[in-house]
Symmetry: C2
Subunit: 216 residues, 2 copies
C-alpha cells in the first residue's frame, strides 16, 4: 500500500500526525472508552466501549447478547477511535481557535477471544479500568459466558495530536488587544462514594488514591 493511498496517512494538517507507537500506547492507556463503528447493513452505528491495551492489541468487552458485539465478532473491518480532549485554545479570531487533543484511529477487524485467553483478557480489562481493585471477585463461568471479549491488533493505526501551548494567531490579529490563551480541560477523580450497607465497613482501598488522573 503506498503511503499516499494509505488510510493511516493523515491528510488534513499532516504536521499533527504522530507515528510513535509509544504515543499510541499512551493514548490507549489513558483512555477508558473508545468509539467503534459497527457497520451492520442499514444500521451503521458508533458505540462507546470500555477498553484496555494488552501489549500490541486492544481489548474491548460488552454483553454477549449485544447485537453490536455479535456483529463485531464476525471480524468485519471497522474503525476504533480514542480521543482525549486536553484543552480549548482561545485565539484572537474564531477561525484560529481550536482544541488540543490526542486522537488514535485504529483500523481492522476484531477477533472474539475464548477459553483461558478470554479469562486472561477479562483480568487485563478489569485491571485497566479499575486499577488495583484486586478484591473484586473474578467472573464465574456463567459470567464469562455472558460477556463478549474482542481483540484488535494494533497494526494499522494513525494518530493526530494537537498540543498548542498558545494559539497561533493570524498576522493581522497580532496587534489586537484581546485575550488569547489555552484553557486546559482536566479529567480528575472525585471523592469515592462508598456503597451503603457494606458488611464490616471496609475502608476505601488505598489503590483508589493512586488512580492516574487524565483518564476519560
Amino acid at each position: 500500500m503506498s503511503r499516499e493511498r494509505s488510510r493511516t496517512t493523515v491528510r488534513r494538517l499532516p504536521e499533527k500526525q504522530v507515528t510513535d507507537v509509544g504515543v499510541l500506547h499512551g493514548i490507549l492507556d489513558a483512555a477508558l472508552v473508545a468509539h467503534v463503528a459497527v457497520p451492520a447493513p442499514g444500521r451503521l452505528a458508533v458505540v462507546p466501549v470500555g477498553i484496555a491495551r494488552d501489549g500490541d492489541r486492544l481489548l474491548i468487552h460488552g454483553s454477549a447478547a449485544s447485537q453490536a458485539f455479535r456483529f463485531l465478532a464476525t471480524g468485519v473491518e471497522t474503525c476504533t477511535t480514542v480521543t482525549l480532549l486536553d484543552a480549548v485554545v482561545v485565539a484572537r479570531s474564531q477561525f484560529e481557535s481550536s482544541m488540543d487533543y490526542r486522537c488514535a484511529m485504529i483500523f481492522g477487524g476484531y477477533t472474539a477471544l475464548e477459553g483461558e485467553e478470554k479469562e486472561g483478557a477479562l483480568a487485563v480489562l478489569s485491571q485497566a479500568l479499575m486499577p488495583g481493585m484486586t478484591q473484586a471477585r473474578p467472573p464465574s463461568d456463567k459470567e464469562v459466558r455472558a460477556v463478549s471479549v474482542l481483540a484488535l491488533p494494533l497494526t494499522e493505526w494513525s494518530l493526530k495530536v494537537s498540543d498548542h501551548d498558545a494559539p497561533e494567531d493570524a498576522p493581522e490579529d497580532l496587534d489586537r488587544e484581546v485575550w488569547g490563551g489555552v484553557v486546559p480541560l482536566h479529567h480528575v477523580w472525585g471523592e469515592p462514594v462508598t456503597a451503603p450497607g457494606l458488611p464490616g465497613s471496609p475502608a476505601v482501598p488505598q489503590a483508589l488514591s493512586t488512580w492516574p488522573e487524565g483518564r476519560s
Copy 2:
C-alpha cells in the same frame, strides 16, 4: 417503522433507555466533541468533531478540505455519538463493575450549510465551544470558505444513561467484606494559560470563570 425494528430502540439493558428530549439536549450541550462515522467505501472511519446544538439540530464543523467532511456533506446516512463518562462503578465482583455514562446516538445524514446560515452556525459553534469569548474576531469571507459546517436534524436518536449511585452486587456477593462504591470522574477546567506577548496585557476574561464544568 415498528418500535421493535427501529434502530433507536435500545436492545441491551433497555431499562437504561431514556426518551426525554431534554436529556438529549443536556448531553449535547455538555459535550464539546462527538464521534461521527464516515462510511466512505473501503475507508470507514470514526472521527471526532467539535459540536454545538442549535435548537433541534446538531452542528459540526471542520476543514472544507477534509475528505471526511466532504463525504459527510453528501448527506450519506451515518451515526453521530456523544458519550459523557461520569464514573467508574466498583462492585464486589468484576462482572458487576461498570461505568456511569450518558450516551446519545443520533442517526441520519448531514446537510452542508452555506451563506448567511453558515455564518450564523459558525457563531453558534463558537459560542458553544468557548462561551462568552465575544472578542474573538468573526471569520472573514475567506475563512468562512475554508470551513465546512454541517447540520444534522435531531429527529432519530436514542439515549442510554447509566447513573448508578452504588454498584448492584449479585446476591452471592452481598456478604463479602470488600469495598464497593462509585468513583466519580470530573471534567474540570484548569487555570487559563495566557498566550505570551499579547499587546496591552489583556486580563483573563471574566467569562472563563463561568464556563460550566462537566464538559468533555
